[in-house]
Amino acid sequence: MLDLLIQIISIISFVGGVFFILTGSLGLIRLPDVFSRIHAAGMIDTAGVSFIILGMILQSGFSLITAKLMFIGIFIFFTSPITSHITANLARKKGVDPVGKTKGKTL
């Protein structure tokens, strides 16, 4: 019973993960500029990764693998904003113009 429940939850989370990843990839293709695409990439890195890792954690039961999977998750959570940020930062610095309006006093 519990096993079945865990299976179901993990399948759901896999489906969720796959959904976010595919959406993110789609976003990477069809969003207009690099700054917008960063959001799509961020979606893969956050929701996609976390759902799929959650699914795997559920599959593996509680063991060392759980810990390691969690480390992967944490690591990606930690590094994803950094790469996103420095990419965006550099794009700004090197003068890539964002699409859309610019509000307030930007740096």
Binding site: F78, T79, P81, I82, H85, I86, N89
Partner: protein
């Protein structure tokens, strides 16, 4: 790179990466990994640090002289483990005689040898990065 986020996060990540490298080093017996991979990972931490801060900063943690010494030491450890076997009456690189039983000997031998590999690889990679990053750093004449 003069980026606050990157700098702070690198500081945070530095030690876990090295520890992960060491974990790979010492768990090569049980899972994938070993001296070589560990060396690369540890070196990667140093390289990250050198890239985000500066090579000079990295040289504070790993001075080039020490780096070079360890580079030779690693391979030397490997070779020397073999020579111990030789002196104790077995062929070169035979670990059987290192421990009380053959199995223990093999364990000790493999551990030491992997350590030697890790040391060399790590320091070679750091040294490579030092060489490449700071080539042409000082004033030089034209070739």
């Amino acid at each position: 790179m003069d980026n606050l986020i990157l700098k702070v996060c690198t500081k945070v990540l530095f030690t876990p990466i090295i520890l992960f490298g060491l974990y790979v080093q010492f768990h090569g017996d049980f899972g994938p990994g070993g001296g070589f991979q560990a060396g690369v990972i540890v070196a990667a931490a140093f390289i990250l640090y050198a890239m985000v801060f500066s090579v000079e900063d990295c040289k504070v943690i790993m001075p080039p002289k020490l780096n070079f010494f360890l580079l030779a030491l690693g391979a030397f450890i490997y070779g020397f483990v073999g020579i111990i076997g030789l002196i104790l009456g077995d062929p070169y690189l035979s670990y059987d005689v290192l421990g009380s039983t053959k199995e223990a000997g093999q364990h000790i031998g493999i551990l030491l040898v992997e350590f030697g590999v890790g040391l060399t690889v790590c320091n070679v990679m750091i040294s490579l990065f030092y060489s490449f990053a700071n080539f042409n750093f000082g004033k030089r004449n034209n070739d």
